[in-house]
Structure formats: C-alpha cells, structure tokens
C-alpha cells in the first residue's frame, strides 16, 4: 500500500514525465491551488506553461476541530496546469490515476458537469468533477477567464483532492487514519493543526486586528498598482508579484473574518468586490508586464 507521500511522489513523477515543472507550494496562505501565482498569473498571456505542485489550501470556515472524518480546515491539493491544453488531456489524466494504482477497469469513472467560478479572482472556467465509484476525486477545469481577462491559450487545471484519493486508495474511513509515511498517520502530522486553527478561526482571532491588517494589505497593494499605472516605461522590474502577495493576504483575511462571523450581509458584497478589484488590478498589470518582457 502506498503512503500519502508515496502517492504524491507518483503523481509528481507522472506529470514531470509529461514535461511539467514540479513547483513547491506557494509560501503564503491561500484558499486553493488556483490562487498561487503559478496558476493565477501563469495562465494569463500567450506563453505556454506546464506546472504541478501540492498546495496546502486553507478554508477557515471548513474547519471542524479535527472531529469530522472528511472535513478539514486545511487540505492538500495537487494542482496541475497544462497551458495550452493537450488534445488528449483527459486520457493523460486517466493515466495518472492508473499511475497511482487505480485499476480503472475495476472501477466506475464519470465526468459530471461542474463549472468553476471564483468571484474574488474574476475567474471562471468550464469543466467537471471527476467521480470515482461515487466519490469526487478531482476538479477539472478549462480556464476561460482569469482576473477578468479572457485567456489567450486555454489552460486545463487539474486539481486532485489528495486526502480523498488516498483515503480511497488506503481504504480508510477517516482522513486522520491515512498513513502519511510508514509509522505516521495523517493525525500525527496534522491533527493539532486542525484543532488549534479551528479554535483560533472560529473563536479567538481578533476581529479588529484582522480588519486592520486587511486595510493595510489592501492599501499597500493599491499603492503599488497605482504606481504601476502611472508608469510609462520600465515595467520589467516593477514589483507586480509582491503586489499579488498583498492581494492574497487580503483574500485570506477575508476568509478569516468570514469564519469569525464578522462580516455582515451588507458588508460582504463590498468586501468581495474590494478583493476582486485588487486581483483584477494585479492580473492586468502582470499581463502588461509580460507583454513587454
């Protein structure tokens, strides 16, 4: 039986063999692999790109204090971006399942419509959730728009839910029973994380401090975007990537505030709009920067 990490190694190898760069996780808090710059920014513009990486993804509101066998505050996604999409992308994807030991002839695979949309990123795509014996194991999306920009090349985004897939492969009922490495369970590695962050996110995070932080990061991002817009020349070295970090910070702070129940109905739409404005601004700047680089 493969451990959690064995399965990850195999998937990374599989995509490396097909020409993908194997990146490491982005080192900021994000809600999904899509938000890492390796996806959000790289899908923009006409340059082909292939990348795969595991992205720990934080969703404060999904925390269950480590008590729910399937729900996690932070889960691991294996994210693959193929830009442009190869014609046999679905065959390649099915091959990856075989590579991690799923005998497809003995199982039931279905592609069920599931379009993806992220209002805070100005992004959407068309695709499926991939069902394996009734279990959703992957989200597959053909990106159409990102940061409000129509994409030149249509990338395929394959997002594997690693905990689910490995729980299936190891035939365990709780993600916490997954063997991460020989002798170490998922609970040994991550349970404390789930417990403590659930307490913090739901009960203890200082709302005033989070708002303050949100405003600071928003201001910094906006300051950089304004400077970029004012520029006539010398785009190449302009810190667009640091501006995106600020936007990501805002996005995570928004999620935290939300899980603390600190965002009222009337505020909510407005705050989403503020984050979106930053993301769209960064996407626009990045696209301009790429065009001259």
């Amino acid at each position: 039986m493969d451990s959690f990490q064995d399965t990850i190694f195999k998937l990374k190898h599989y995509w490396a063999d097909r020409g993908a760069i194997i990146q490491e996780p982005y080192d900021l808090e994000v809600g999904a692999g899509t938000m890492a710059p390796e996806t959000f920014l790289r899908v923009l513009g006409p340059k082909p790109y292939k990348v795969a990486y595991v992205q720990p993804s934080r969703r404060p509101a999904d925390g269950r204090y480590g008590e729910n066998p399937n729900r996690l505050y932070k889960h691991q996604q294996l994210q693959v971006i193929l830009k442009p999409t190869p014609d046999d992308v679905l065959e390649q994807y099915l091959g990856s399942l075989e590579a991690i030991g799923i005998d497809l002839k003995k199982h039931d695979i279905k592609f069920e419509e599931d379009n993806w949309e992220a209002p805070t990123l100005g992004a959407w795509g068309i695709g499926w959730q991939v069902m394996l014996d009734g279990l959703e194991i992957t989200q597959f999306t053909y990106f159409q728009q990102c940061g409000g920009i129509d994409l030149d090349l249509v990338p395929a985004e394959i997002t594997y839910g690693l905990e689910r897939i490995v729980a299936f492969l190891q035939n365990v009922n709780s993600v916490y029973d997954i063997e991460w490495a020989p002798g170490f369970k998922y609970s040994d590695v991550r349970l404390a994380d789930e417990q403590q962050f659930s307490v913090y996110n739901f009960e203890m995070a200082d709302v005033d401090m989070l708002w303050e932080e949100f405003k600071l990061h928003e201001k910094e991002c906006q300051r950089l975007l304004d400077l970029f817009r004012a520029k006539k020349t010398g785009f190449e070295r302009f810190p667009v990537l640091p501006a995106y970090d600020q936007a990501l910070k805002c996005s995570n702070l928004f999620n935290l505030l939300d899980s603390r129940g600190a965002i009222s109905v009337t505020e909510r739409v407005g705050v989403i709009g503020r984050v979106r404005k930053l993301a769209v601004g960064v996407a626009d700047a990045w696209a301009k920067q790429q065009a001259v680089a």
């Binding site: 199982h107 039931d108 014996d133 279990l135 053909y142 090349l153 249509v154 109905v265």
Partner: protein
C-alpha cells in the same frame, strides 16, 4: 439514394443539455438539407457523442429556376445591357414581363442543384457550431470556435463516401472512439452500416432508448421510480450497468426526505422501498461499466454514502442544539439579495404580508405568524447549508421535532411549493398563505428596485414565483383579491396578469380569446375569474353566443367611432317603437334575470338570449339617425347594453368565425 451518418465526438457533455442540443441539431439539419429529401432523420447521443442519421438522401438536389427582375424598358438600353452583363448573358436572351409600373426585363436562370456530398461538406461546420447550448467554451485559444466541450473527432459519411470538413482543427473522418476505459484505446474504423455494432463491441450503446431499457430491466420492482434520475443516468453513461449496495439500518432513523435527497441529488442513486412505502436500507447506483465482479464499485459507493449519511446525522444532532425560534436573529447574517438586505428583513416583511392575507382569508393567524417567523430559519442550519435543496423541508422537520405543532411544521415544510407548474401546492391553508406571502414579497421587493424580468432573462426566477402564487390561488380557490396586496407596486399587476393568463391557457386549456374576454372584464378573486371563463367556455358552443359576441364587437366599434365612453341610461320616451323598443325591453328583462342568479353560466345563457333582438335592431335600425337626440339615445342604449354585461367578460374579445358584423 444514400444514407448519411454524422457523429460529433466531444468530451463529456452535461447530461441535461443533450436532448435540447439534439433537437436543435435535428432542426438545423432538416432545414439546411430539405432539398435532398430524406425519409427519416434520427438523432441519438451518449455523453461523448451527438449522432445524426438521415436515410435516403438524393445525391443531387433538383435544379431550380430563379427569376431575376431587371430594369424597366423605360430605363433605356444602357440599363438593360448592364443587367444582362450582371447575369452573364446578352440583352437578346432576356425575357420581358409587365407589372403595374410597366414593362421590364427579367432573366430566367436555371440554378443547378447542389450535390449532396458537396452541400453537406459546405454547410455542416456552420450547423454544428451553431447548435445551441446554454453555456459554451473555447479551447483552441482566444477567438476560437465555441462549443459545449472540446470536439475531439467527427465522423461524417454519406454511404461509404467521406464528407470532408474541419472544425477547430479536427478533420471529419471515418473513425470513432469506444468506451474510455473498456473500449479499444485506438480509433475505430466505422462504416455507415456497422457504426452501432462496432461501438457496441467497444462498450458504447449509442441508442439512448437501449441504454434506458438496459437500466430499467436491471432495476427491479422495489426500486423507487424516478424518471428524471433515469434520464440523467442514461446521458451520464455509455454502457450503463446498475449495481446494488446497502447501508446500515441505523441511518433509517433519519427522515426519509433527507436520506432520499442524499442518495438522489448527491449520489444519483435510486432509493429502494419496502412494500409499505418506507425506505429499505439499500440503493442502486448506475455505473458506466460492464459490471462489478469483485464488488469494489459497490463497496466504494457504500463508503461514500456512509460518509454522507454520517454528515447528515451529525448536522441533525448539531442543529437541534439551537432551536429554530432562537435562529431568527441569525437571519441577519444571511443575504436575501444584495440590494434587498437580509433574510431577517425579509422575514419581517413576509410576516406582515402573511398576517394581512390570513386576516382576509379568516385563517388561523397565530399559526400563520409563527410559520412565517420561522420559515427561513433553516437557512442557518448546517443541514440546509449542505443540502440546500432541502430548504423548507428541513425547517418543517425540525419544527415538528422541536414541538412547534403540526400546523406550523407543515406550513414551513410546504412553503416553497409549488416549485413548478406540475408541483403540488402547499397542503394546508396556513402553508398556502406563507407560500403566497413569501413569493409576493420577493416579487414586490424585486420590482420595487427595478429587478424586473426581461425577455428570457429572469435571474431571480420571478416568473416562477408569480406562477406559484397564481397556481395556489386558483387551485386552493382562495377568495383573495390579489390586487389589494400589490396595489403599491403598479408594475407588478400586469406581470401577475400575464401569469394568470398563462395559467388559464396552459394549465387549464382555455382558448386565448376566452381568456382575453374574461381578463378584459377585470378580476377580483381568481376563483371568480375561473368561474367566468368556465361559463364562457361552456356557453360558447350554443347557437346564440358567438353571433351575439360579434354584435358586441360591432357595438364597441360604433361607440368607439362615436367617441362615447360614458353615457346616461337611455331615455325610454325617446326610443322608437319597434326593434329599438323591443331591444330595450329585452335588455331590461335580461338584466333582471342575470341579477337574479349568481351562476355565470345562467347569466350568459340569458345574455345570449338577447341575440334575436340585437340582430333585428341592427337589421332594421340606423344608429346614425339625423335627429341628434334620437342618435344620442341609441348610443346610450348600446352603451348600457355593452357595459351592463361586460362585467362578466369583454365579449368583443371573442374571435368569431364566419361573417361578422
């Protein structure tokens, strides 16, 4: 004669879009190739292919003669020469014809019929990419072709002849693909006659009907019938094989609604029922495989279902820790609509409205108020957050479990009903009132901030909400005057009227002119409207009715020409003896008779009995008498006649056959 086969191979198409897409493809094909005859066009589909077959196409469309109109002779020789040149001929080859403006040149031209193969190759790309889908994507790059999902192969054969064309870089050919997992990994060569059998050998049943039968045959009599789910599964599979699984009996403590929803909506499983209608601890999943000899698929599905049921049980337990009545203030945090505030705001408005309606209908106000207060609180429960389609139902179940009483619980449970034209209305008066108040509030508020449906755009499903209100009022026969509750939102009245007309025509099957006639007379309660339209419909086939309706139309026109909108009653002393006096006497008699009965059918029979006097009047009397006093009085008589009886229906709206006035 030749047979044609088209297969558009695509990545998995959403199941619910397939049938409309096939219908559209069928129509576009039939329209474009009408010239080639074709005895039968059939379509079929699996998730990965849209298929169209046409039998007996003629190889060559017949030539058609076209007539090109040229200049008039009066335009001179230059114009004639120019026209001839444009037609690739000379003036002496032109024919002449005469029309209202004089003699002109024309040119008879024989347009060669196209060869079928050529026409197909030329027109198919446009037809295929024009197939309508609710949402499309591009995949070859910005500005590229759009389709529902990427097209990966195309088969186009006219007998054994390949019809060559290209879409998004994919060239049509004679190779298809089998089942993703069970079929050959390489493309499969097909001919027009062995297409289906080659695919079947590769675990693809092209025929929708056959896939459906295959599933149905395996389901067994204890499986809950579910046509919608069956259709979904037929279009989610290329080789459907149902398998059975079971779950622990202990989950049966959860309400049936919740278990069924988890199975149906989230896992697409059929439920299995006992002889007494209760759920059995089993399910049927339809796989896209040839079978499950090792039981792995069944085990996998059982495990997923167990996790789902555990979630549901957990939600149930957690949700009970906070009663619905304690959740009302939490609704402040649930958005109803960005411009319209929270569900707390909505709840307050709905309560006011529901109380008004309850008062008007003499309903139990305490029950209505409590149900309206709690109706939306289940939106704050974990159960509804997870299973959104159970909103209302969960509220009802929780209300019952928390001792709110059956009347309140049932009203909450039902208040989203009817969700469609075919769905049932709430079972109790209190449920009906809360449902109406909830929907009317949505309509009132959306209209107030100008979120009004236009054309096919109705993002807030306001038509459905309005239709729901109308359906309840009609079917529960509630004596409620809708106008009293929307008077302050003027734009809403015509919108509701449209839905009322739609209901009478579509659900009740009345003719459009019958509906127009009663609507023209206005309405108070919809029950009254229903009685009137039924009376019209019943009395209409009798001898006197339509001719009288035609006369009413004539009266209306006469009054319109005379620009008479109001009039005093006619003065009896000015009525000329004979037909005019007789009509007046008949009018008085019928008026008394109609006032004496409350049955609309009898009223109408009475009114229709006026026909001989009306006919005689128009036959013998000239309304436009030279004496203005007599003329005015005649118009007043006609006016009385029209207005007196137009409270039942605008008879002039009735479309009559044969000679009319």
């Amino acid at each position: 004669m030749a047979n044609f086969l088209l297969e558009i191979g695509a990545e998995e198409i959403p199941d619910w879009m397939i049938e409309p897409a096939l219908a559209d493809l069928h129509k576009r094909f039939a329209d474009a190739f009408a010239a080639f005859g074709g005895s039968a066009i059939t379509t079929d589909a699996t998730p990965r292919r849209l298929v169209l077959q046409a039998k007996d196409l003629i190889a060559q469309a017949p030539d058609v003669e076209a007539v090109a109109p040229g200049p008039y002779l009066s335009a001179g020789a230059k114009a004639a020469e120019g026209f001839a040149k444009k037609q690739n001929t000379t003036v002496d080859q032109l024919a002449k014809t005469t029309d209202a403006k004089g003699e002109r040149y024309i040119f008879h031209q024989l347009v060669k019929g196209q060869a079928a193969a050529h026409a197909l190759a030329e027109k198919l790309p446009e037809i295929i990419i024009s197939i309508h889908f609710p949402k499309t994507m591009y995949w070859t790059g910005k500005g590229g072709v759009k389709f529902i999902r990427p097209i990966r192969w195309i088969v186009a054969l006219l007998d054994d002849q390949l019809i060559p064309f290209e879409i998004a870089g994919v060239k049509s050919g004679n190779t298809t693909r089998g089942h993703r997992i069970l079929g050959s990994k390489t493309p499969l060569l097909v001919g027009i006659n062995n297409y289906a059998s080659v695919l079947e050998d590769n675990f693809v049943i092209v025929s929708t009907e056959e896939r459906k039968e295959r599933i149905e045959k395996a389901l067994g009599p204890d499986v809950q019938k579910d046509e919608d789910l069956l259709k979904t599964l037929v279009y989610l599979t290329e080789f459907p094989t149902p398998i059975r699984g079971s779950f622990d009996k202990s989950y049966l403590e959860l309400p049936k609604e919740i278990l069924s929803t988890v199975m149906r909506h989230h896992q697409r499983y059929f439920s299995v029922v006992n002889a007494d209608g209760s759920l059995a601890p089993e399910f049927v999943a339809v796989t896209n495989t040839a079978g499950d000899p090792d039981g792995l698929i069944s085990q996998g599905n059982e495990k997923v279902l167990r996790a789902r049921f555990n979630d549901a049980r957990f939600f149930w337990q957690v949700d009970q820790q906070k009663k619905l009545s304690a959740r009302v203030t939490d609704l402040e945090k649930v958005t109803f609509q960005a411009k319209l505030g929270s569900y707390k705001d909505k709840t307050e408005r709905v309560r006011v409205l529901a109380n008004e309606i309850a008062k008007a209908l003499n309903a139990d106000q305490k029950t209505v108020d409590q149900a309206a207060l709690l109706a939306k609180t289940d939106l704050t429960t974990d159960m509804v957050k997870e299973f959104t389609e159970l909103q209302g139902v969960v509220g009802g179940l929780y209300a019952k479990a928390q001792g709110e009483g059956d009347a309140v619980a049932t009203a909450i449970y039902d208040h989203y009903q009817p969700v469609s034209m075919d769905a049932p209305i709430p079972r109790t008066l209190e449920g009906q009132i809360v449902s109406i108040a909830d929907k009317l509030d949505t309509l009132r508020e959306c209209f107030r901030v100008d979120m009004i449906p236009t054309g096919s755009k109705d993002p807030f499903a306001l038509r459905r909400a309005a239709q729901g209100v109308v359906k309840i009022l009609f079917e529960a026969k509630l004596p409620l005057d809708l106008k009293n509750h929307i008077a302050d939102v003027p734009a809403l009245l015509p919108f509701m009227q449209e839905r009322i007309e739609f209901y009478l025509k579509d659900a009740r099957g009345y003719a459009y002119d019958e509906v127009n006639a009663v609507m023209a007379a206005g309405f108070t309660t919809l029950q009254n409207l229903a009685e009137r339209v039924d009376a019209i419909h019943t009395v209409r086939p009798t001898d006197n009715f339509e001719p009288l309706a035609a006369s009413f139309k004539r009266i209306k026109n006469i009054l319109k020409q005379a620009q008479l909108t109001t009039a005093n009653p006619p003065k009896p002393e000015l009525l000329v003896p004979g037909p005019e006096q007789e009509l007046y006497q008949a009018f008085l008699k019928v008026r008394t008779a109609t006032q004496a009965t409350s049955v609309y059918r009898e009223k109408l029979v009475q009114i229709a009995s006026l026909r001989p006097q009306v006919d005689l009047f128009f036959d013998k009397i000239l309304v436009n008498d030279p004496d203005p006093a007599i003329r005015e009085n005649r118009l007043a008589l006609l006016h009385s006649l029209l207005t007196e009886f137009s409270t039942i229906a605008g008879f002039s709206e009735i479309v009559t056959q044969g000679p009319s006035a």
